[in-house]
Amino acid sequence: MAGVPIYYFLTLSAILFALGVAGFLFRRNIITVFMSIELMLNAVNLSFITFSYYLKKNDGHIFAFFVMVVAAAEAAVGLAIILTVFKNRQTLNIDEVDSLKN
């Protein structure tokens, strides 16, 4: 019985990462940009777990665990920042938040 080749998983990870990059670059809504970052983190986690399987060690799982912890902390702080930005400017469009540009 044939298994799934390792590079299928890594290619899926590459697809999800590229989609995350696309969302990060093309979307203008700050919340969607944030969700694209989460998508990229998930894609990298899949790579970690796959390499962990390939090497038959569980160190990759620990790394994925730490990525999750950092993602949780980042989501909490980031969403608080989004709330503050919205409270001060009444907009979620990242093109309108450009005080540092000029």
Binding site: F9, A18, L19, F26, V77
Partner: protein, 166 residues
């Protein structure tokens, strides 16, 4: 069997991932992202990562996405407008992305032969027992530092989001 399982959930993940990017309303993107995370949890199980699969569902699909949905509803975020993006992004964005993905996929396929394959149950080091043992012996210091990171994040979130008091 493994290939069918992988195929079904990989397709769900990719379709939901595309949906995250193309939906104009943030709440649709959030629901699609939950779909991506759920199907990734199944793939983690296929790779023998039981603990991470459970943590994926609980932490990501549960906690983080609920936080996102709360914020979307709190801010009453509507669909975004399509106008006002720069010409360079429109012209170069998609070709550059396809190049990025093509390079990644090419090198990945060159590096790993098809003989290196995944079978369900081929790796049993991902149980909660094994992960817990590694966390509390080899990775004890990073684990403890993580708790401080979480504490700082909680404080930061509370300070940022509270109402200004005189």
């Amino acid at each position: 069997m493994d290939l069918i399982l992988f195929g079904v959930f990989a397709i769900i993940a990719v379709v939901c991932g595309i949906n995250v990017v193309v939906q104009s309303h943030p709440i649709s993107s959030a629901i699609s992202l939950v779909g991506v995370m759920g199907s990734l949890a199944v793939l983690y199980l296929l790779l023998g990562a039981e603990f991470i699969a459970a943590a994926q569902v609980i932490v990501y699909a549960g906690a983080i996405m609920v936080l996102f949905v709360f914020v979307i509803m709190l801010l009453n975020a509507g669909a975004e407008s399509r106008k006002g993006r720069s010409l360079m992004v429109q012209l170069l964005g998609v070709p550059l992305l396809i190049t990025l993905f093509g390079l990644l996929a090419y090198f990945v396929q060159r590096m790993y032969s098809p003989e290196a394959s995944v079978h369900f149950g081929g790796f049993r080091g991902g149980t909660a027992e094994e992960i817990g043992h590694a966390l509390f012996t080899t990775y004890l210091l990073p684990f403890e530092v993580t708790s401080i990171l979480i504490l700082i994040a909680i404080l930061g979130a509370v300070v940022l989001a509270r109402k200004e008091m005189d």
